[in-house]
């Protein structure tokens, strides 16, 4: 690898995080909000692996492993909450999740 420096990978990680953040903020479909959360975690993973590779230290890669575990658990619980919301409100849009409002 000559011309692709670690900075390219870091900027790509930032960009993926930003795209995921954009999806979390502007979308109202909770399914797509959950998918965007996964995208944000992927951006963080790219940055961690890049630092791990450049610093020749395995800790970053092991953290990616744990992030994947937590992401899988988070998706399972999030989708179960989504199904519970759908059973209650027949809708998966975030503006209908108003159970705590009054």
């Amino acid at each position: 690898m000559e011309s692709v420096t670690p900075h390219y990978f870091l900027f790509l990680g930032f960009l993926l995080f930003g795209v995921g953040f954009l999806g979390v903020v502007i979308r109202r479909n909770l399914l797509i909000v959950l998918m965007s959360l996964e995208l944000m975690l992927n951006g963080v993973n790219i940055a961690l692996v890049t630092f791990s590779r450049v610093g020749l230290n395995l800790d970053g890669s092991l953290f990616v492993f744990f992030i994947m575990t937590v992401a899988a658990a988070e998706v399972a619980v999030g989708l179960a909450l989504l199904v519970a919301l759908y059973k209650k409100r027949q809708s998966i849009f975030s503006e209908d999740a108003t159970l705590l409002r009054n």
């Binding site: 670690p6 390219y8 998918m35 590779r53």
Partner: protein, 188 residues
């Protein structure tokens, strides 16, 4: 332009483009499929970073398990494409999202461009040395799965047990959340 640069360009474009198409797609199924494109190209980026085990895990966990879960939920809830009214993005949240995205990208560009070293030879990738797993106090990055196993079961012994317990807790939580509760008022 060598092969690595070309592959980086392809995977970077696919991952960011898939992400953008995902967050702007109207149908949840097409969003899930664009997300698979994005995840698989992130796995390709992991291959370029020479962490092959993480690339395999990325494909297995994200593009396999997580996306199948998403597609199952989409099938169970039977959500079709959103109508024109419900998919309209609110002005305020759209503005806030664009502003935050712009701040993040500009900030990261400044940060990344400031840290580019002047000489082209000192920027780049240190060569790998697979001979020993531990160097001093820290674990050494290597392409082999063996080093992963060593790290997970020596330095990260407690975190991996906590991760296993977390998965168990998530499973129990999902079962409880998806159980049908009988309302107390309807019983009496």
């Amino acid at each position: 332009m060598n092969l690595i640069d070309f592959l980086f360009l392809v995977f970077a474009t696919l991952s960011v483009g898939g992400g953008l198409l995902m967050i702007f797609s109207r149908h949840p199924v097409s969003a899930a499929l664009f997300m698979i494109v994005s995840m698989v190209s992130v796995a390709g980026l992991f291959v370029l970073l020479e962490s092959f085990f993480l690339a395999i895990l990325q494909v297995l966990v994200y593009a396999g398990a997580v996306m199948v879960l998403f597609l199952f939920i989409i099938m169970l809830l039977d959500v079709g494409p959103e109508g024109a009214k419900s998919s309209k993005i609110k002005l305020l949240s759209g503005l806030a999202g664009i502003v935050c995205f712009g701040i993040l990208v500009v900030f990261s560009l400044i940060l990344v461009l400031n840290s580019v070293p002047d000489c082209s030879s000192c920027a780049g990738w240190p060569s790998l040395d697979d001979r020993n797993l531990v160097l001093g106090e820290s674990l050494v990055f290597s392409t082999s799965v063996k080093s992963f196993g060593f790290g997970l079961f020596s330095k990260y012994m407690l975190p991996i047990q906590v991760a296993g317990f977390l998965l168990l807790a998530a499973m129990v939580g999902v079962i409880i959340l998806s159980k049908k509760f009988v309302r107390e008022s309807s019983l009496s």
